[in-house]
Symmetry: C2
Subunit: 113 residues, 2 copies
C-alpha cells in the first residue's frame, strides 16, 4: 500500500469502483461468472432488477469491455451476454468483497434508487 | 460463485460496494491502511478531495464502523482517524481492485462530481 497513490492510479481505481458499484452491476457480473446468459435468464437472478435497468447496465458493461453481446445463429437469432477476459478478471475482486460482506457487513436495504 | 445469490447476500454486497465506491472513499481507506492520520494529513494525499467531502466521508466511514475517531490527550487535544478491524479487513478487496485496475482499466476522468 502506497501512502500517496499517484493521481492517475487513484482515478483509475475510482472509475473502476464506481463502475462495478452501480446498483446491481456486481450482481449481474456474478450471474455471468457462471457462463453466458440471455437477458431473460439474467433478470430473475437479481432481486429488484427491472428490464430497463438491466439493459442500461449491460450497455455500460459492454462499453467498459467487461461484457460482450453474442448473437447466436439460431432461428430466430438469439442474443446472450458473456464476460470478456477483462470481465472474468474481476472475479478476485468480487470474491474478496463477498468474503468481507459475509464477515462484516450487515443486511440493510440500500438507500435511494 | 452461486448462480442465484440469495436476496440478503445480494443486498449486503450492494451496500458494501456502494459504501466503498463513493467518490474517494477507497482512496481515504488506502491512506489509513498506512496507519492513523489526522484530517490535515489525509487531505493532501487524495487528489481533488476537498475539506467538506473529507468530513462527510469520514463520518460515513465512522457510521459504518470502518473508521474510528481517536482524540489524543495532547494540549491542545488532537484528533486522528484509524481503521477498525472491519476497516482493515477491506485490504484484500482494495488490493484485488488495484490489481484489476493496473491490469485492465484505463485512466479517464470520472464523470460527474
Amino acid at each position: 500500500m502506497d501512502a500517496a497513490p499517484d493521481h492517475s492510479a487513484c482515478v483509475r481505481f475510482q472509475n473502476a469502483i464506481e463502475l462495478i458499484g452501480r446498483r446491481w452491476t456486481g450482481a449481474i457480473i456474478f450471474v455471468l461468472m457462471n457462463g453466458p446468459a440471455s437477458f431473460s435468464e439474467i433478470l430473475p437472478q437479481v432481486p429488484e432488477l427491472r428490464d430497463r435497468l438491466l439493459s442500461e447496465r449491460l450497455k455500460e458493461l459492454e462499453d467498459a469491455g467487461i461484457v460482450v453481446r453474442e448473437v447466436l445463429p439460431s432461428r430466430p437469432p438469439s442474443v446472450r451476454y458473456a464476460l470478456t477476459d477483462k470481465g472474468r478478471a474481476l472475479e478476485p475482486v468480487l470474491q474478496a468483497l463477498t468474503r468481507w460482506t459475509e464477515g462484516w457487513a450487515q443486511a440493510e436495504t440500500p438507500k435511494g434508487g
